[in-house]
């Protein structure tokens, strides 16, 4: 599951993959809505990893 945490790095740091104007969404060129879309996706991926791990013993 931890490998999911690498996806945002791959998706965002390989710039030639998304450096385009088309297709547009709600007037946003691809470059912009693609990167903005990674925000909720990253949250979701981290949450999935959080869910899958065994909670550690935390006595405050």
């Amino acid at each position: 599951m931890w490998v999911l945490l690498l996806l945002p790095f791959v998706g965002l740091l390989w710039v030639p993959f998304y450096n385009f104007m088309e297709p547009e969404l709600f007037g946003f060129p691809f470059f912009y809505w693609y990167q903005l879309a990674w925000v909720p996706i990253t949250s979701l991926l981290i949450w999935l990893v959080y869910r899958s791990r065994t909670p550690d013993d935390e006595t405050p």
Partner: protein, 497 residues
Amino acid sequence: MSANIDWVALSVFVFFFALVTVMGFFAARWKAGPVNEHLDEWGLGGRQFGVWITWFLVGGDFYTAYTVIAVPALVYAVGAYGFFALPYTIVVYPFVFAVMPLLWKVAHAKGHVTAADVVQGTYNSRGLELAVAVTGIVATMPYIALQLIGMGVVIQAIGITGELPIVAAFVILALYTYSSGLRAPALIAFVKDIMIYIVVLVAVVVVPAKLGGYGAVFAAAGDAFAAKGGATGLILKPSQMLAYATLALGSALAAFMYPHTLTGIFASKSADTIRKNAVLLPAYTLLLGLIALLGYMAHAAHIKVASNNDVVPALFQALFPSWFAGFAFSAIAIGALVPAAVMSIGAANLFTRNIWKSYINPDISHAGEASVAKVASLVVKLGALAFTIFLPTQYALDLQLLGGLWILQTFPALVFGLFTRWFRSEGLLLGWAAGILWGTWTAWSNGLKPLATLSLGDTSYVFYVGLGALILNVVVAVIATAIVSMVSPRSPATAST
């Protein structure tokens, strides 16, 4: 200039500033602990902040007021390239999720307050501890100065000139930070973040509606860049792509090495608090992406400014009534207070724990640590204030840029020890020095640009100096550690600590 004072905006501004001032002094009693008796209380708010307080606090001091001014300014000036702040503040969270809970556990178990404490605890090396502490303090000072500059931009937009308002705002900030410690910015962060959310959500709905929708906003910006030429545009030039990616990655790795962000981490209640925040903090990144678009909206609104930093205030003044512009400006000014306070606390903690305690008074009591830190926070803030008043703004910008490069060189010393005990302090110290020297020299000789060029045959690669310096740092640390390990193998007694 004083004839141009916007009285409505000024009244709104003064009201909110007075509100947070009262909150700042009141904060000492919030979740009360003995603020003067232990550095954990003054410097880390009692190590008790749960998910929501940490969310507001880290959100408030990571996404600074200067961000709200500078990111749209850069996007306004160059377009797509300025957007690197977005991938930067996305990829930082998988990193925070994987690494920061481990760091918190070490700090919590051993009572560490600063990054340099952790390094000293792991490697038992005064030299490495000092390197990390000094890097943290030096990198933070210009960052505080930038918050002041951000505040100055909005105060000027209201029509008030001169240094007096900034000095006054800063004295107030210094006083309540002195008396309340980390509790003050934590409490004020609630107000600041909610105000910024309101401002940005209103702006991203109302402004495009006034300007003909997002399609028109992007089209206007595209036309402006086509007319301007050069390395600008709505998407990146091929030569900019590597720079964009390395700036994003390097900045993300550096972000949580700073004393102010680490203070937020160490102040949280549990490792799980930090994990949940890694899931929730990206909400601010969405906000940042929308804030960045204000730079394009300024093109659509035909805003022309003398200094790019005036883009956001000029846009709000052109499109909103005075009272809302005043509300937005107070949000930005208060947005400067929160990070400035946390930064000065983080730097003060470093000074107290890793310079004063390590070199001047090793037998200092807990109450003594708290009082040294309180005075140090005043000195740090006065230094930043003097910096803004007596030196050109450009110095603060240049130094903040170098600061990012420097703080990134503490990464191996702080993070590698959480995963492996293989590295030796001598190797890490040598790597740190190599990274700092090469990075500073390269940035300096490029006219303080954060980018370096590497030519291989016919193709040249332009990349972020900080990340290049980090790679050099790690290579040197590995080689030096291998040599040290051969020359003097670790005795079993020291290996276990």
